[in-house]
């Protein structure tokens, strides 16, 4: 137990943990909303995130982000953010259409929907990981070299945002990127929360989560609502992918797996189906991981997340804030 390390660098570990936690929270949003509406673990949501990271990377490569700086770099990054959001949203919609809707229509058992999601997750991850082969079939691997290179692991983002400032406040080292990540993630969460709470569509989503049949009788189109749910989850996963790439700069075809499991953990931690719970759960998980890896060594980082999950579920089985996408006040 390395208490000195933790106490001497307490603020740094807190901020680093919050930044990771914010990313978990954004991904968790997709899990929690789909679960709230369909009572379904959207196992393939991790792949939605992963495609976002690659979309971000390709946009930066295509627009020559490595040489750009100043305003141009910011413009490129903005384009990358939009691309990541669009890509993730598109993947989420396709997923809903191909892997879920046929099953929901037939009222299939929930375990089967999970299996379908696992299958979809494998397919999406492998398509990304084998894209150099697929391009090879069409004889395009030379033309598309920038995009298919590093099919399994890709770090073209490294050094693009190299000289991001680092502030020193009362001897505390603060990376600007961490601040950006936390603030933008929390801002996005607030926007979505208010959207679900106040807009007509949000009311429809909440109604469907409460009781799909009654909601349909009241004029809420269930299929449309489910689509919107996937869309919002996908958009947020895109934002998460953008922020993740800013911070980590490397992505893999299976990067989504561990992050997805963590994000789902965050969703359960906060109370699944509960948007504010997802934010809280994500931040708590991120910070706990950060402190834990300081105390026990980084090898134990992932263990801490799961132990925390088990412990919290034992004492508070509905998560920190309880489950409530449907129960939220109108």
């Amino acid at each position: 137990m390395n208490f000195d390390l933790l106490f001497n660098n307490f603020p740094e570990f807190t901020i680093g943990g919050l930044a990771f936690g914010a990313i978990y929270a954004l991904i968790a949003l997709g899990y929690t909303m789909v679960y709230g509406v369909l009572q379904l673990i959207n196992f393939a949501h991790s792949e939605v995130f992963m495609y976002g990271t690659f979309a971000m990377l390709w946009t930066v490569v295509a627009l020559g982000g490595a040489e750009a700086d100043g305003i141009k770099l910011i413009a490129i990054l903005a384009a990358a953010l939009l691309a990541a959001m669009a890509m993730s949203a598109a993947i989420a919609m396709i997923l809903e259409r191909l892997a879920y809707r046929p099953l929901i229509k037939r009222n299939a058992p929930r375990l089967i929907a999970l299996i379908s999601a696992i299958g979809a997750s494998f397919v999406l991850a492998e398509l990304m990981g084998l894209r150099d082969r697929v391009a090879g079939w069409f004889g395009l691997e030379d033309n598309l070299d920038d995009y298919v290179r590093g099919a399994r692991i890709n770090n073209s983002m490294a050094g693009v945002v190299d000289d991001a400032p680092v502030y020193h406040l009362f001897d505390v080292r603060i990376r600007l990127i961490d601040i950006i990540v936390v603030i933008s993630a929390v801002a996005m969460m607030v926007v979505v929360d208010q959207f679900i709470r106040r807009s007509k569509l949000g009311r429809g989503i909440r109604a469907t989560a409460q009781d799909q049949e009654t909601a349909a009788l009241m004029g809420v189109n269930p299929t449309r609502t489910i689509q919107w749910t996937f869309l919002i989850g996908g958009l947020m996963a895109g934002v998460a992918a953008f922020l993740y790439m800013l911070k980590i700069e490397t992505t893999k075809f299976d990067v989504g797996f561990l992050l997805g499991v963590k994000a789902f953990t965050a969703a359960v931690l906060g109370g699944i189906g509960n948007l504010r719970g997802a934010l809280l759960g994500g931040l708590v998980l991120g910070v706990a991981e950060s402190y834990g890896s300081a105390l026990f060594g980084t090898d134990w980082r992932h263990v801490i997340a799961f132990v925390l999950l088990v412990v919290i579920l034992l004492f508070r089985p509905t998560g920190l804030l309880g489950e409530s996408l449907g129960k939220a006040r109108a």
Partner: protein
């Protein structure tokens, strides 16, 4: 007419003969090396051994998922505990004989199942899934990080089962050689009975198959007992079962422990055959493959589950030349299966009957389709 009903109508001695013949065929399969079925480029006996391990795991997981209805996404954790216990007791920290370490491995795995189940079986179904998933990862990551467990390098020189008749075995059994439409006895290629060596995997397959048959028998007896009925009642409606006097928590715990027992057994066998294990052998993906085996075959039906285990373990080995694409194809197959046969390839008879009854009830309630059409 369903072929199964025809088999059922046969007189009992004929049925028993049929089963014995089937079992003998299963034992002889690696010696026959039938074309198309045997795996090119990979040792057929080894592949068949893997199949038996998957069958064991699938039978164990079927008790948890299929009979008791508890979604377990971390089953590989039990498998790992069994394998590691066997490895530690026979090689790393002690030098027990394998036959003594297997009961120990199974007991420890069962204990871990109870320790995990005691607090977690009280939480709801989906949470159970994620808690078990976490458990599987905790086990693996602990194995990676703890030096006493051999950390990432793993453990080697795990004991093999004792051979009969020394180095040369009691006698040698020739394999068949299939060449251009003729079948020959290949006296160059023989299996020594019963030597558990490095090269010939077939004795391990026989061992595995024997264990599978024993577990199948136990499974049959448990399923048709008070315990099996209690599991089913708990799965269908926990509150109703509790009201009828079934102590559901205790039976769920029993299902968990039984599942862990079989998982640990499979893990110990696997470790012994492999003679080397490291945490890479117990990735989360295996939990998912195990679950896929159960669901593909038809959860709750022991024969369906065996078929599922066979498909999941065998197909990737048979089609190794497409090895790069096998995960992709596997994913597509899972999606197709979910869309086309949501109850699995071989749903248990009970599910089929329940569906029929449900359909009839619906007709009674809403009127048959023609009546609706007539308006």
């Amino acid at each position: 007419m369903n072929p199964m009903t025809k088999v059922k109508a046969l007189p009992k001695p004929v049925k028993i003969l049929l089963w014995v013949a089937l079992a003998l065929l299963a034992y002889a399969l690696p010696l026959l090396e039938p074309p198309f079925i045997s795996t090119p480029g990979v040792d057929f006996g080894g592949v068949l051994f893997t199949v038996t391990v998957y069958c064991l795991v699938a039978l164990g997981l079927n008790i948890v998922v299929g009979y008791a209805g508890l979604l377990d996404l971390g089953y590989v954790g039990f498998y790992a505990i069994g394998a590691y216990t066997a490895a530690i007791l026979t090689s790393f920290h002690a030098s027990w004989p394998l036959l003594l370490s297997i009961p120990a491995a199974v007991a420890i795995t069962m204990l871990s199942g109870i320790l995990l189940g005691w607090p977690t079986l009280r939480v709801r179904g989906d949470y159970l899934a994620i808690v078990t998933l976490g458990f599987g990862e905790i086990i693996r990551l602990s194995a990676v990080n703890i030096e006493w467990l051999g950390d990432a390098r793993g453990i080697s020189d795990i004991a093999r089962p004792p051979s009969l008749g020394g180095e040369e075995g009691l006698f040698e059994i020739p394999h068949l050689l299939w060449a251009d439409g003729t079948v020959l006895l290949d006296t160059q290629d023989t299996t020594k009975f019963l030597v558990f060596g490095v090269l010939d995997q077939i004795p391990y397959y026989w061992l595995g198959l024997t264990v599978v048959l024993l577990v199948l028998l136990a499974d049959y007896l448990i399923k048709n007992s008070r315990v099996g009925r209690a599991w089913e009642a708990t799965r269908e409606d926990e509150d109703a079962a509790e009201l009828m006097g079934v102590p559901t928590f205790r039976f769920k715990l029993l299902a968990f422990a039984t599942g862990a027992f079989i998982g640990g057994l499979a893990g110990a066998l696997y470790a012994s055959r492999q003679s080397f294990i490291n945490p890479q052998s117990f990735l989360l993906i295996y939990s998912i493959l195990f679950l896929a085996a159960v669901v593909v075959g038809g959860q709750g039906n022991r024969w369906g589950v065996l078929v599922g285990a066979f498909l999941v373990a065998y197909l990737p080995e048979r089609f190794r030349e497409f090895s790069e694409f096998r995960v992709l194809v596997f994913g597509l197959a899972l999606m197709a299966l979910a869309a086309l046969r949501p109850e699995g390839l071989f749903p248990p008879r009970r599910t089929v009957r329940a569906k029929q009854v449900e359909h009839e009830l619906e007709e009674l309630e809403t009127g048959s389709e023609e009546e609706v059409a007539r308006g």
